[in-house]
Point group: D2
Chain length 135, copies 4
């Protein structure tokens, strides 16, 4: 598994719905933000070569909602990657508030498979494998 | 459990991402469209009283992706509701193409709890219970 | 200019914000739905060749909001295309309610330029020109 | 008019479309992020009282696209507020790249009116007026 990486997100007005809370579909976007930031921080996602992100298909996702998040909340999503057969699994925990009194807002998981440029499943790159085997 | 209900969705350009396929976060929106249409068709969601929709929180979701969907695809999402303790669970299958040769694009589940106006968990309404016990 | 074309949209829960109304960014999406449906209905947009939609860049947009739209509203967006030098301009009116008592919810405009596959500006296709010169 | 305020946005994968660029509807969201951050920085928007943001309706918007933005771009949106009769107008310029060689990606405008809690137009608050008259 990889190290734990943490990514900040300030909840925007346009992410709320008429319940006055963050619409649940946005958590998959917060998870993606954290996963992409982790990959970029470790040099395995090159923004200048967008195919490096595109070549990574989502097979499944799961989200559990613990507390509603609201407009203006500062959320921190922790992400950790695991090698799972030929697949890559990420686990997420989205927290609100300062470290010492933080609350769990949501947690979840996404499972991915690396793809060739013509969208056939392939093995993760050496660099990715190395990161996932670090701990 | 309820009867199966099916809802059409034409994939929009704005639902695609740079992989050229529907961004995975949209499937939770397609599921919501189907769930809402089912509730409205059975008279348990009144658009004129938006609190009737708001009072139904999402506890968890799960999506499995079987085939990518693309711009212009006509998708049909089948939804079926189940009573699960005090919770309500919906199962979804999103299909593409004509009935006789349709392909499964995605399947998943969302779990909900009814809420009072001040966002405390409560029991599902009698009308909802009756629909979920129909079969 | 082209004929007027009208496209239906049922307002979804995920399109609302915490004001309890449709978030204003969605109107550009409703306009796109109408524009794409018009182009598809006239055979100048082929869903199976997604580059036919991609090769049409947005240069500018303008939206005026007349009435808020809410969850469950049935909106009809009328779109009409105009040739404007080498550019194509679409004008939109988004209405709510039955024809005889309909209310104007929003109106606006988008301006586009045709692009080659490598994203250089080019002239509109003959088929598009022919549609825009129909009236 | 107010001082110029600048807000950072890192372009996310979920903000791209199948043209491989940021979908044009997102610029209204980037503008909102900048406007909200400005209002919050000056103490006239209280995240804990969401009605302070909600009570500010969008009357119109306008966006001009100068360059496409892509996944991973760091964008800075400059926002400046103006008093315009009883209305408040914001002007935006969205830039990419370092200050000395930055490129203009988009520019635009939104016009707003303050609303009472029951959604009737009213005058801007004293605090907002004072900010808009600063320069």
């Amino acid at each position: 598994m990889s190290e734990i990486f943490s990514q900040r997100h300030l909840v925007q007005f346009y992410e709320t719905d008429q319940m006055g809370i963050v619409h649940h579909s946005n958590y998959l976007r917060f998870f993606e933000e954290a996963r992409v930031a982790w990959a970029h921080a470790h040099g395995i996602l090159d923004y200048q070569k967008p195919e490096s992100a595109a070549r990574f298909a989502v097979l499944s996702s799961r989200v559990e909602h613990k507390k509603p998040a609201v407009f203006g909340d500062v959320l921190w999503t922790e992400v950790q990657g695991f090698l799972d057969g030929g697949r890559v699994r990420f686990e997420y925990q989205t927290w609100r508030g300062p470290q010492e009194s933080r609350e769990l807002v949501a947690q979840g998981e996404t499972v991915h498979v690396a793809m060739t440029l013509d969208l056939k499943p392939t093995r993760p790159s050496k660099e990715l494998l190395s990161l996932l085997r670090r701990n």
